[in-house]
Amino acid sequence: MIYAQILAGGKGTRMGNVPMPKQFLALADKPILIHTIEKFCLEPRFDAILVVCPADWLSHTQDLITKYVTDSRVKVVAGGSERNATLMKGIRYLQETFGRHADDVVVTHDAVRPFVTQRIISENIDAVLQHPAVDTVVPAIDTIVQGEADAISAIPVRSSMYQGQTPQSFNVKALVDAYATLTDEQKASLSDSCKICLLAGQPVTMVRGENLNFKITTPYDLRVASALIEKRA
């Protein structure tokens, strides 16, 4: 089975003084989350499209999907306390609902990256059917510096630096096995799902992203996103 899992568990703490989580804020007259779901619904290879949202926003999310989305593949469940717990909760739901198969794959995506393109989604599916883990990246434009306590400790060569985006895609069994090898501390602290596989010694393949596939995290991002969109005349 080929699954999509849209991670909408964020609470929007970086969005300033806005009570509503950022994935529910309006962009071009629709919630950001809905734009993202619509993109995934246009990929016929998905057997199910799972939206994982904060527990206290479950009914709100369900109401939005009922209002805007007609695709019966879209399901909603409540996520966990942090990113990886949310991811694994979604995986557990998929396995309990649709069964476990060795070749199951999941394409996970941030709900707040609504500019994801058909090519990126399609290439993630193609790649994850061949490899255990896939990350979507763009070459770094700015020089990346590593530092601690006001001092630079290293300046890596920029040509080998990339910025990670989503989708991140996984063979489900490889991901579950890798996650099981982590300590509780690692599970709570890892901010990137591909690192779960890297720490377990699994190779992670790269798919080319797009600069426009950015994450709407701050009020500035939302203004930029709104300015980028034109309505069809």
């Binding site: 734009h35 246009l42 016929p44 609504p114 393109t117 090519r119 426009l212 969109i229 069809r232």
Partner: protein, 341 residues
């Protein structure tokens, strides 16, 4: 739905623009797969259209010849994955006399209305037709051009007198080749004669009864009816030759687009009672007939597959620019992009 549209903003420069689309129940969402470049697209790409036209029409997504797969049909009549040809002419009214492709109010993709260089194309339901499974996909990309040829021959059949002994085609390019394959199919008992400027291109017309270089046409040669498929600066000379070599009361269908006005020897047109009929765009009925002709004739499909001169997968804006540049130096045939942007 947020859709990425790849627009030409000035000569040789494309930019991506995100467009918020709404899809009504009467519309269908298509993912472009194979897109074929037309001379009209190249005139925009290279900035050869007049400056006031470029100012008025750009930014605009190019390409009006292409096939794609259905990804969403709100009415569920087209299954996801169905290969469809996209009809670029989009009428906004119905007229009892003037067909959709000649209505000034109709919108036409890649001519003042966004073409198919988009992540997804949202089309009205009647603007797509399913492509039979055994059709070659790159060849199917230029069914639009075949439909224009069908429109030309349909107009010829409606206008011409009873003399169908010799059909002459002026032009050894893509349109001439497509028109020639259709003449063989629709006028099987006629003699097909093709006139061109390049022997190496005329050599591809192996199915024609005769071919002539335009400076070696016998003075006494006559054609019953003619199709002008040159366009550009060649139109004037081609029309002059047609008038010289066509039988009285013959019909010449003019199909080549010329940027500048061309001079026509109207004295001879009047004296011989000739009919000049213009054709450039096609409508849904022409697409249906084109698909039927290609379905009925595997040999016509095979001949048209030989017209695919350049194919390449494109997945970035730079790939698109490189493809258009390569097409400019492509000597023979249609250039077809495998769209993966």
């Amino acid at each position: 739905m947020l859709n990425q549209v790849y627009r030409l903003v000035s000569a040789r420069q494309f930019e991506v623009q995100t467009v918020a689309e709404t899809v009504s129940a009467d519309q269908i969402v298509v993912r472009p797969r194979f897109l074929s470049v037309c001379h009209a697209d190249q005139r925009y790409f290279t900035g050869q259209r007049p400056q006031n036209v470029l100012r008025q029409k750009l930014p605009m997504a190019l390409i009006h010849e292409g096939v794609g797969t259905v990804v969403r049909d709100p009415q569920g009549k087209f299954a996801p994955g169905t290969l469809v040809v996209m009809i670029p002419n989009t009428p906004v009214e119905h007229d009892p006399i003037v067909p959709e492709n000649y209505l000034p109010s109709s919108k036409f993709r890649s001519s003042g209305y966004n073409g198919t260089m988009q992540e997804y194309v949202v089309l009205n339901r009647d603007r797509v037709l399913a492509v039979p499974a055994d059709f070659d996909h790159p060849m199917s990309a230029f069914i639009e051009m075949v439909s224009v040829g069908v429109q030309g021959l349909t107009q010829l059949q409606a206008t011409m007198d009873a003399d169908a002994r010799v059909i002459g085609i002026w032009g050894d390019g893509n349109l001439g080749y497509i028109a020639a394959t259709l003449v063989k199919q629709l006028f099987p008992d006629s003699q097909l004669v093709v006139f061109g400027r390049h022997q190496s291109k005329l050599d591809y017309f192996s199915f024609a009864d005769k071919t002539y270089l335009v400076d070696q046409i016998p003075a006494d040669l006559k054609v019953s009816q003619a199709l002008e498929c040159t366009g550009g600066r060649g139109s004037e000379a081609a029309i002059a030759q047609i008038i010289r070599h066509i039988h009285p009361l013959g019909t010449a269908v003019l199909m080549g687009v010329s940027e500048e006005p061309v001079a026509i020897d109207t004295r001879s047109v009047l004296a011989e009672g000739l009919t000049l009929r213009g054709v450039s765009r096609s409508g849904r009925a022409d697409f249906e007939r084109a698909i039927q002709i290609l379905t009925d004739s595997p040999v016509t499909r095979e001949r048209l597959q030989n017209l695919v001169g350049l194919t390449q997968k494109v997945s970035t804006i730079q790939d698109i620019i490189d493809f258009f540049e390569r097409d400019l130096t492509n000597y023979w045939g249609k250039a077809v992009m495998e769209w993966d942007v």
